[in-house]
């Protein structure tokens, strides 16, 4: 039966090629545009570290002195060094790290010094964020404690300075001091760069990773948000009234998460009892996806484009509805004959829907090609996320689901009208 309907649909579509082409083109354009923007959304709002995103938590707290505290203010993103060090010292999470972005000039063996982006962090960083290493290994907790002059460098910097060879054991010259390279990163594509969104949300990883303690020792400058509320000659000093450290903790079970919340509450209470402030303080714990959502990582023009493209798809569908309606009603003579020969209304309805579905599927194929073209366009845009836009299997299947559902939806009204055709009148008027 369905085979017969399919045959009828194909015949009917072939009979009026221009109209069929119009409908296919309309659906293809609607699908192509909306799939392009949906894919961008999908990639940008995706989980950067799916295997662990529910176990990694950004820790924030509001422990301002009383004259800086205003109830209802947002909890600041970063911690002061004294709080970060206290939390690190207590070691209540499965892993934890306090860190900051920074920058430094490194001097190659030959050539001029060049400015590179760095991350001052702890030994926990690498296992916590599943950072792959091509050569060597990360530094250990002892190196953090001893302010060891060690560094892990990116594969890009390794390529640049050492021609891509295993550079473990070599020295990275930073001004007139040196860092011993202990590891070289593998391909590490962490986008959005959730661990520190304040220095560009998308893009390559930093080039130099080194212990935070060592960076302090060498007086290297931090970059990113530095928020101070008092005068301090050295904003990175242990007691400086400045917020600049990102703090992440890994908590493997829900029980540990609630225990950690409890612990943060206790920490703030202790600070209050010690006379640091009188307000109630605030602590905040968010896992990776909550954090990305909170920071609004998807750019607003991408969301805008998505809404507009969906509106556009709506217009394309209305267009298809109109064309299908005209097409089916024009065939009322033929449909009347089928009804007179015994086809039920249901059969007519199904036949018309199948015709709409065929249009949708063909439109989906062309729409996929257009979406591919659209994605090529997006990748050539000068945005920091351009390079990461790609279509995965889910979006590929999604394209066809969207094409088929929307064309069936578009076919509903025309098919319903077509099945209402009164056989006698239709045959007579012909």
């Amino acid at each position: 039966m369905y085979g017969y309907y399919l045959d009828l649909a194909l015949r009917s579509l072939r009979r009026n090629k221009v109209l069929t082409a119009l409908m296919v083109l309309t659906i293809a354009l609607g699908i192509g545009t909306s799939m392009t923007t949906l894919t961008v959304m999908h990639v940008l709002s995706g989980d950067p570290i799916p295997q662990k995103s529910a176990q990694l938590f950004r820790v924030r707290m509001n422990v301002f002195p009383d004259d800086r505290f205003r109830a209802g203010d947002d909890v600041p993103d970063n911690l002061a060094r004294r709080d970060a060090e206290a939390l690190l010292h207590d070691t209540r999470g499965d892993r934890q790290v306090a860190m900051s972005a920074g920058s430094m000039a490194v001097t190659p063996v030959q050539g001029d010094p060049q400015w590179v982006q760095a991350r001052y962090t702890g030994a926990g960083f690498f296992p916590m964020f599943d950072v792959p290493l091509r050569y060597g290994h990360a530094w250990g907790p002892d190196d953090d404690a001893n302010r060891a002059r060690v560094a892990v460098i990116s594969s890009a910097l390794n390529e640049q300075l050492f021609g891509g060879k295993d550079s473990v054991g070599q020295t990275l010259k930073v001004g007139d001091q040196g860092l011993r390279i202990v590891g070289v990163l593998g391909e590490w594509d962490m986008n959005p760069r959730f661990y520190d969104l304040s220095n560009g949300q998308f893009g390559d990883s930093e080039d130099v990773f080194m212990p935070l303690s060592t960076a302090e020792d060498m007086k290297l400058s931090a970059s990113g948000n530095m928020w101070c509320w008092g005068n301090s000659n050295d904003m990175q000093a242990a007691d400086a009234p400045c917020l600049w450290l990102q703090y992440w903790v890994q908590l493997d079970t829900p029980a540990k998460v609630s225990a950690y919340r409890q612990y943060l509450g206790n920490y703030i209470a202790l600070q209050q009892q010690a006379g640091r402030f009188h307000h109630s303080g605030q602590a905040d714990l968010r896992d990776v996806m909550q954090w990305l959502d909170f920071k609004g990582v998807v750019p607003s023009d991408v969301r805008l484009q998505m809404w507009l493209a969906l509106g556009f798809l709506g217009i394309c569908l209305l267009n298809t509805v109109g064309l299908l309606l005209a097409k089916f009603l024009r065939r009322s003579g033929e449909l009347g004959v089928r009804r007179a020969l015994g086809a039920s209304r249901r059969a007519i309805f199904l036949q018309c829907l199948i015709e709409a579905g065929v249009v949708g599927l063909v439109g989906g194929v062309f729409g996929l090609a257009l979406a591919g073209l659209g994605m090529l366009l997006v990748r050539h845009q000068p945005t920091d996320y351009a390079a990461f836009i790609h279509m995965d299997l889910r979006m590929l299947l999604g394209t066809f689901v969207l094409a088929l559902t929307s064309s069936l939806l578009a076919g509903l009204l025309p098919a319903w009208r077509a099945m209402q055709v009164a056989p006698a009148a239709a045959i007579k008027s012909n």
């Binding site: 545009t33 000039a105 507009l308 509106g311 556009f312 024009r330």
Partner: protein, 406 residues
């Protein structure tokens, strides 16, 4: 006119295609809503990208120069600036902030207790000659006098004793002191007291499109023997920016072998970089606009040619009864005009609804009415264009069709 006599039969004919007509009107209304808002957004971006910052943009360049730790560097800021000023083609030079280049946006307070910020403003700060390098126009009060500038180290450490002389933009002065009494007043940022010595006409820290862009203040400090890295600004003689910028950069590098000099920008390049991604997003929207118009036109003409085919016999009969080709063509054109008009009227509602939605979610401004007028005219034209082919085909239907059976 013969057209208006056709309106009644057109309406009667449309009534028998009610569903298709309503669909077409809906499509046109939605098209108008999306089109109006899209054009509004794109045009806003383009306008923003041409808004002046208030500085002498065609003559300003930036040299980003950063110190290397541990390297003894013989250069001092004052020496650097002197070396740059001596370079050929350079009119002036200073160390400090530049519009569109990470200008601080800080809260300002009207009294020293700093309890409630009056508003947020862009704070431009830099060495002596910052103002003349930027090329600001002082319209009230007076420019900086080198003798009254605070020392750079005092400013860095927050130890300046007297309020620092500052220039405000007209916009900031008006918002802080609506009675026009800005000159001579003292205001406060997070660290310093600032004394208003003059008003400049415009200075925008960023170009976000909001009125607050032009709320800026400038102050200078006196640099001498410090060694700092950061942004060195060059003002060239008219028309000599590229050569002056390179000459100044070479002079700066010679004076500071210990600095990593990584980047040179002209103000035009900064502006281009600042707007690159919004303009790219704008281009995507233009692509959507074009596709949208094509789809709507295809829909209109598809449906129209269908109706023409469907009515071949009636057309033939009318022709046989004496209607001219023009009459037939006008019939379809008038029919299209009526449908599009219905769509446009509905579209006004849709466009405002969409605009309200976008305003809530994306902080867009109100859609001005003239965009709707332009949208309506565009759709009328588009409709007429789309129906022209089918209407001509209809007018070519020979009268003899009436006598044949289909």
């Amino acid at each position: 006119m013969r057209i208006h006599r056709q309106i009644r039969p057109i309406l009667a004919a449309l009534r028998s295609h009610r569903a298709a007509v309503v669909l077409l009107m809906l499509e046109i209304a939605l098209t108008m809503a999306v089109l109006g808002n899209l054009v509004f957004i794109v045009y806003g971006t383009i306008q923003r990208s041409h808004e002046p910052t208030g500085v002498a943009e065609s003559e300003i360049g930036l040299i980003q120069s950063i110190g290397v730790i541990g390297q003894d560097n013989p250069g001092t800021v004052a020496g650097n600036l002197a070396a740059m000023r001596a370079a050929p083609g350079v009119a002036d030079a200073a160390y400090g902030s530049l519009p569109l280049w990470w200008v601080d946006h800080n809260p300002l307070f009207l009294d020293a207790s700093r309890q409630h910020p009056a508003l947020h403003a862009y704070e431009f700060q830099g060495s002596q000659h910052l103002n003349s390098t930027l090329g600001l126009r002082v319209v009230q009060g007076h420019d900086f006098d080198d003798g009254e500038l605070p020392d750079a180290m005092d400013v860095y450490m927050g130890k300046a004793t007297a309020p620092i002389p500052a220039l405000l933009t007209e916009s900031l002065a008006r918002r802080l002191y609506p009675d026009g009494s800005a000159l001579g007043r003292i205001l406060y940022d997070g660290t310093h007291g600032l004394r208003v010595i003059g008003i400049v006409d415009h200075l925008r820290g960023e170009l976000t499109g909001s009125a607050g862009d032009d709320d800026s203040l400038v102050y200078e400090y006196h640099v001498s023997t410090q060694d700092v890295g950061g942004g060195f600004l060059v003002r060239s003689q008219p028309g000599r920016l590229p050569e002056a910028l390179h000459a100044a950069a070479a002079a700066l590098q010679k004076a500071n072998p210990g600095h990593v000099q990584n980047k040179l920008y002209t103000m035009a390049e900064l502006r281009e970089g600042y707007f690159r991604s919004s303009l790219a997003a704008g281009r995507m929207l233009v692509a959507i606009i074009v596709i949208l118009l094509v789809v709507t036109a295809l829909g209109v003409s598809g449906l129209a040619s269908f109706w023409v085919q469907q009515r071949r016999r009636q057309i033939g009969m009318r022709r046989a009864l004496g209607a001219t080709r023009g009459d037939i063509r006008h019939y379809f054109q008038a029919e299209n005009f009526l449908i599009v008009t219905g769509g446009v009227l509905l579209g006004v509602l849709f466009a405002y609804a969409l605009n309200l939605f976008l305003m809530q979610r994306f902080e867009l401004p109100h859609l001005p009415a003239h965009y709707l007028l332009v949208g309506a005219v565009a759709l009328w034209l588009l409709g007429q264009l789309a129906v022209l082919g089918p209407a001509l085909r209809a007018s070519n239907v020979p009268p003899v069709v009436a006598t044949r059976s289909v």
